[in-house]
Amino acid sequence: MLFKLSLTGIKSRFKDYLVLFSGLVMAAAIFYMFETLATNHSFIKANSTLALAPFIFQFGSILLAIITFVYILYANSFLLSMRKRDYGLFMMLGAKSGKLGQLIFIETLAIGVLSLLMGVIVGIGLTTLVGQLLIQRLDATALHFSAFYGPALVVTVLFFLVLFIVAALMNQRVLRKTPVLALLKSTAQPAHVQVRPAKTVSQVIFGLVSLAIGYVAMHQIGTLQMLGIAIALVTIVVGTYLVFNSLFTWLLTRLKRHTAFASRGLNNFTLAQLNFRIFDYNRMLALVTLLFALALGAITTGMGFQKNIKLFTESAPYDVVLHDPTASIKQAATKIDIKKQNHYMYKVGANTVYFSRDQFDQQPVYVQKPWRKNQTTTKYQLTYGREMNQQNPLLWQQSLQELLLPRDSQKTIKLVDQATFAQTSGRTQQLTTIVARDFFAELPTIKRVTQLDQRHNKVATSYDMGSTKYDAYQMMNGLLSGFEFMGFFLGVAFLAMLASCLMFKILSGAASDRTRYRMLDKIGTRQRLLRGAIAKEIGVLFLLPGVVGVIHVLFGLQMFTTTGLLPHAYHDLWLPFLIFLVLYSLYYLLTVKLYQNIVLKK
């Protein structure tokens, strides 16, 4: 009977349950998504040369577990607040609190298990989708990556089961301990925040010191290794929370006291809204900040690796080099949008390769420049035949050797005059160098032509890399695309978690906000003002974490520069930041529109 009653209770608040349910499903799905990488040791080993990588993932796991834990606690309190009134009523009607405790225990667990099941399914789908998409888009090699991964499944299921059992026990306890009257009257009591200066100041100081320690630990990652990550993890989580808890509360109180500000339009109402939910908000701001930093950090490093690949690829002077191309290969090569194309003749002897010097005077060739300090990629310079003398034989010799087929690339290069070249025995062979207008735009064609050339000249598949852009690309892509993949994959995962956190937080307040905004409408508030108030309130939830998150990332990138993993991590930082901020702003606008529609719709 009671069971039936409680089911009708669920039915009547179906929309709220949907919000709760989808929030939990997303949390489980994203946790699974992360674990498919984190628990997959063969993937990590195969895709990163960094010994630290497995630990980074372990700590990432822990961090995500903490975030998920807080998220679930929050979702659970939302569930409980929905049920308190109903259960209070049942108690009034004579139901025993023990029985009701059992009921809420079952209900929590049932919702948990159901969303866990759905979450794992969604998670596998999401992982497949994101994985495939990234591997295709990035031309990445993600060895041993699989969307359906047993250990990840086990970890996710166990973790969430434990969480839900804890949540169910907590709910049971709360229901047994709270007096009936409090249950009945539990429509959100306002939080009275007393700002005690001493406490605020000590929290600010402690928070900032924690953050500073975390930043230093990230900087010293080279010497501290695992310990550095562990320290940073704890201090940054704690520091972020403390800073928000003290500064945000303080700021609200200040603004409230600033009557000129507070008494304008709906400002006081917005402040009251923020104040009313301050405990939720403080937790939420810290959570969103961490997710923001993780997502932005992951995407920034992903792009950093992508940039590295680009940088090395583009440092090579030629896109394709053809050796004695047949008519069909020449035909294929015309498909490339060519910027410059040169043809050179050469003859191959037993230990020597002959070029006529004249042709380099007519068509200069790219030769390496001497290597300077602080240089990360090889620099080339167009060089004429007459400049290829004894002063720096190594450089032009090597540069020309790299243009030849692997089987000829160990031989000495000799530059001779036209007449000598004609008399030299051996077949005249043609070397065609091609500079395309845009390597990455033409990658598929370039790849095809290069492969045709290699097949035609019977080059072994595991050949020594030459000096074309394609060779450089192959090498760097093989080396770094695993990292790149991880960066983007995790970036997407954290971004999704961030989005679902914010969405859940916001939707869970919609029902009670509806009545408030409705009332403001009734006493004659202009629509624009109502919309503005919503935009402001949600804006705080987006803006503050954004600012602090960016600071976290700026310091966090130290981990990559000091270890040399991404020496130029800070170069061109605006691009990933801009992309991320655009995405984030779009999501903000979407959320605001959605919320305005839910809350203001008549």
Partner: protein, 253 residues
Amino acid sequence: MIAKAPIVAVDAVRKVYGQANEQQYEALHDVSFQVQAGEFVGIMGASGSGKTTLLNILSTLDQPTSGSVKINQQEITQLRGNQLADFRAKEIGFIFQDFNLLENMTAYENIALPLSLQNVSAKKARPLIEKIAVTLGIDKILNKYPTEISGGQKQRVAAARALVHEPSILMGDEPTGALDSKSAKSLLDTMTTLNQQQQVSILLVTHDPFSASYCQRILFIKDGQIGQELKRGDRSKAAFYQDILGVLGRTEQ
């Protein structure tokens, strides 16, 4: 001497619920009446007779299917968007049965809302709020939140919020409906005082004869039509109460 224009003029108002293709229900048929400035008028009827429908139209929360409503000589049925919001904010004070206070703001902040909507500075707002709070006897609880005060006090706060910006008319939809009899009586007394000493025009909707007996004039509404009108004149409240009961007795048969 020309008669002063009425503060509320309702002319041939009809309200039909439901779209043309659905089942329709006519909640108001051809309602017409007027309220003069400074009057205390009651609209009385059984549950389902159309009182809330009528009051929602008068307070611009809803629109009539046809007919005209003028408040302070302004036609309100054509108002839309910002004009509508501004009209509500300036001209109308509304007390709801279920208080409709914002539970996340203190009583003071709740009362201040209509003023800050009109961008009255905090400095100018304070004396206005304090004055109305004294009038309504809630000056001691201004810093409390709605969850910390009684139902009667909540309704007084709601009344203060409805009056603080000095609207043309105060409307109440069964404002005493959720109050105990003592709080109800005290609120009605206050409304009478406001009406008599500060010439606040009041339109009160109720199904309760006791509340109605505080009015100077009562319009009886039945099945969406205004039937009888009853004036108090010089009679005492108790005598008027008996008259009301009499009318109710006759119409019920």
